[in-house]
Amino acid sequence: MRHRTSVKALVVGLAAVTAIAGCGREESGGDDSSAAPGITDTTIKVGSSFPLSGPLAGLGTAARGGVLAYLGAVNDAGGVTLSDGVARQIELVDYDDGYDPARAVQNYQRLVDQDEVFGVMQTFGTATNLAIMERAQQLEVPHVFTHSGAPALSGDQEAHPWTVGWRPTYAGEGAAYGEYFAAQDRPLRVAVLSQNDDLGEAYLSGFEEAIEGSQVEIVAEQTYEPSDATLDSQITNLASSDADVLFSAVAFPNLQTGLLKRAREIGWSPTIAVITITSSIQKVVEPAGVTDEDDVISANFVKAPDDPQWAEDDDVAEFVSRMEQYSPDADPQLANAAWGYGAAATLVAALEGMEDLSRQGLMDSIHQLEGEIPMLLPGVTLDGTSSSEPPIHGYRLQEYADGRWNLLDETGS
C-alpha cells in the first residue's frame, strides 16, 4: 500500500513539473512585434470561459461551438483584416469554469496573465460574468459580448468601461411581453411565475414597468427554485386566480414542459407567454403537446434553428453547416449555439472597425458598431452606441401555430 502511494506521489509530482516546464516555454516563446498584447502579425488571440462540465455543460459546449463555428469559417476564408491592412487568424483560448464564479475569475486572470489574450468574449452565465466584471475593470482587458442577458452587465458602461453584454436583456424581454399585452387596450389579468433570483426579478421588473398605467394587472405571483422537481403546486395556485394570461418566466426546459402539460391537465387555458430560453420547439413546445388551440406566445431575437419557420433561411442553413464542420460535438439546436455564433460575428465586426490596434481601440470600435450580423430576427439590430444597453437591440414577438413560431407584426422594445 505504502509503495503504491509513493508511486502515485511520484506521478503527480512529475506531472506538476512537466506542467510548470510547459508554461515556462510558452511564456518565453512569444516574439510579437505588435504593441497590443494578444496581437501578432498573423494572429489575434481571444479568450473565453464556459461551463464544459457539470449540469450546464451541454449549454456551455453549444455556446463555445457557436463561437468556434463562426471563427472557423472566418479563419478558413483568410482571417480578419484589421485597419493596418493585414489579415490575421483569430485564435480562441478557452477554459472550463463548471459555472463556478470563482473559477470563471481565475480563468479570466489566467487568460490575461498566462495566455496574454487581447480580450475575453462570450464568457457564460450571469453570476460568472458579474464576478469577472470587477476584475476586468482592474486589469483593463476587454470583457465583451457576454453570454448573459443580465441588465447589470451593460447598464452602466461608464462605470464599467471594459465590460459589455451582447444579447438584449431579460428586463427588455419582460418589457416586450408587457408592451404587447398593454397594447391590446383591454383589461387583462396576469399570473406570473418566475425564478426566485436576479433572473426572475429582471423579467418581472421589465414586465411591471411596461404595463404601468395600462389596463393590464398582475393578480397572482409565484416563484420557483431551480431545484424544484415539478411546478405543479405553483401552477395550481396560479390557476386558482383564473387569470387571462400566464407569464411563464421559467428558465428550465423540463419545468416549462411540465408546466404547459399541467395547465392543460387541470383545464386552465390562459394565453401563455414563455420566455425565449425555454421556447425551443424540439425541447419544449412539441414535447408539451402544444397545439393550435393553445394560445402560446414567445419573444426572441435570433432565428431558432429547430423552428420550421426558418427551414429555408440562408443564415440558418449556413449556420447549421458550419456547426457540423467546426463544432460537431455541440448541439446546434440549442439557442446558446446561435448566440455564440452571433457574438463571434459581432466580435469580428468590432475587430474590423478598430482604428487603433489596442484594447481601448476595441472598446471604442464596439461603441460605433452598427449594421447586420447573421442569425438575428428581422427588425432586431446591432447598435453599440448606447452606454446603458447591450449592442443587440429589440425582441420580436412570435405566436405558436402550425408546428412553428410565427412572427407577429408588433416589434418589441
Binding site: S53, G54, P55, S233, Q234, N254, E265
Partner: protein
C-alpha cells in the same frame, strides 16, 4: 378545491421522492450502508433504459432490460468498490459512496453528454375524471408501482430465506459468516436489487424531469429525508414519509404566507428534525436492541 389539488400535487412529487427512498432503504437493510450514490446510479440506469429505447425496444421492455443490467452493475460496484471498506467505520462507507456519486456522475456525462434528453412516456397521457377532479394516469401509475414495490419488499424481507439472510448480514456480518451464510454473495445481491429499484425510480421520474446527469441530485436529498423520517428499515415508512414531505411542503408553501415558495423546502426538513428528536428510529422504524 385548491386544498385538494395541492394535496394531490404533493402526493405526485412525494411519489418521486418515495421511489428513490425505497432503493435507499433496501440497500440499507441488505448491507447496512446508506448509499449516497443511489440517486446517481439511478440516473445511470435511466440512461441505460433510454439507450435501449433508441435501438428500437418499446419503453417497457427497455426498462425491464435496464433493471436487469442494473442488478449486474450494482453487484459489481459492491464487489469491486464497497467490499474493500466493508469492515471499516460506517463513516468510511459514506465517504466512499459520495465518491461513487461523483464518479458515476462524471461517467454519465462522459458517455451520454449533459444536454437535456427527453425520455419516452411510460404511462399514457390524460387523466381519469372523478367528478370535477382529474387524476392523471402518470400519478396513478406511479402510485400503483410504488405500492407493488412495497408489497414485494415486505414479502422479500419477512417471508423469504434471502430476506432473512439480508437482515442477518446487515446487522452482524461476522456472526452471519460464522453461521455459514454466504455473506459476500448476499451483499452483492442486496446492492444489485437496490440498484434495480433505483433504476425503477429513475425511469419513473425521467419522463417528468428529463434525462440529465444531475436530474436526481435534489430528489436524493428529499429521498434521504424520507428514508430517515420513515425509519431507515421500513419500506412502508419511507413511502408514507415521502408523501408526507410532498404534501406538507405544498400546503405550507401555499397557505402560510410567511413561508411561501422560498421557505417551503425547509418545512419537511424541520419536520424531520422534530420527529428524530422524539423518535430517533423514525416514524415506522424499529428500535435497535443491542445485546450487551
Amino acid at each position: 378545491m385548491l386544498l385538494f389539488y395541492q394535496v394531490l400535487d404533493g402526493l405526485v412529487s412525494g411519489s418521486i421522492y418515495a421511489a428513490l427512498a425505497l432503493a435507499i432503504v433496501l440497500a440499507y437493510r441488505a448491507t447496512g450502508v446508506i448509499n449516497f450514490a443511489q440517486g446517481q446510479m439511478a440516473v445511470f440506469s435511466a440512461y441505460l433504459a433510454w439507450s435501449l429505447t433508441t435501438i428500437g425496444l418499446p419503453v417497457w421492455l427497455a426498462i425491464a432490460g435496464a433493471l436487469l443490467l442494473s442488478v449486474v452493475v450494482g453487484a459489481f460496484l459492491e464487489r469491486v468498490v464497497m467490499r474493500r471498506f466493508e469492515s471499516a467505520e460506517p463513516l468510511v462507507g459514506i465517504v466512499v459512496s459520495i465518491g461513487l456519486f461523483i464518479s458515476v456522475n462524471g461517467l454519465v456525462s462522459l458517455i451520454w453528454g449533459t444536454s437535456l434528453t427527453q425520455f419516452p412516456a411510460v404511462f399514457p397521457a390524460g387523466s381519469i375524471e372523478l367528478g370535477d377532479v382529474g387524476i392523471t394516469y402518470v400519478a396513478l401509475g406511479t402510485v400503483v408501482v410504488l405500492l407493488l414495490v412495497i408489497a414485494a419488499l415486505q414479502l422479500l424481507f419477512m417471508r423469504t430465506r434471502l430476506g432473512l439472510g439480508f437482515r442477518a448480514v446487515a446487522v452482524n456480518p461476522e456472526s452471519s459468516s460464522l453461521s455459514g451464510l454466504p455473506v459476500g454473495l448476499l451483499l452483492m445481491t442486496g446492492w444489485g436489487l437496490a440498484a434495480a429499484l433505483g433504476a425503477l425510480a429513475g425511469t419513473l421520474v425521467a419522463p417528468a424531469l428529463y434525462l440529465q446527469p444531475g436530474m436526481m441530485d435534489m430528489v436524493l436529498i428529499y429521498a434521504l429525508a424520507a428514508a430517515v423520517l420513515g425509519g431507515l428499515d421500513s419500506p412502508f415508512g419511507a413511502v408514507v414519509a415521502a408523501w408526507l414531505i410532498g404534501v406538507v411542503e405544498n400546503l405550507a408553501g401555499t397557505f402560510i404566507p410567511a413561508i411561501g415558495n422560498d421557505l417551503k423546502i425547509a418545512v419537511p426538513l424541520v419536520l424531520m428534525c422534530l420527529v428524530l428528536f422524539f423518535r430517533p428510529q423514525g416514524l415506522f422504524g424499529r428500535v435497535e436492541v443491542e445485546r450487551v
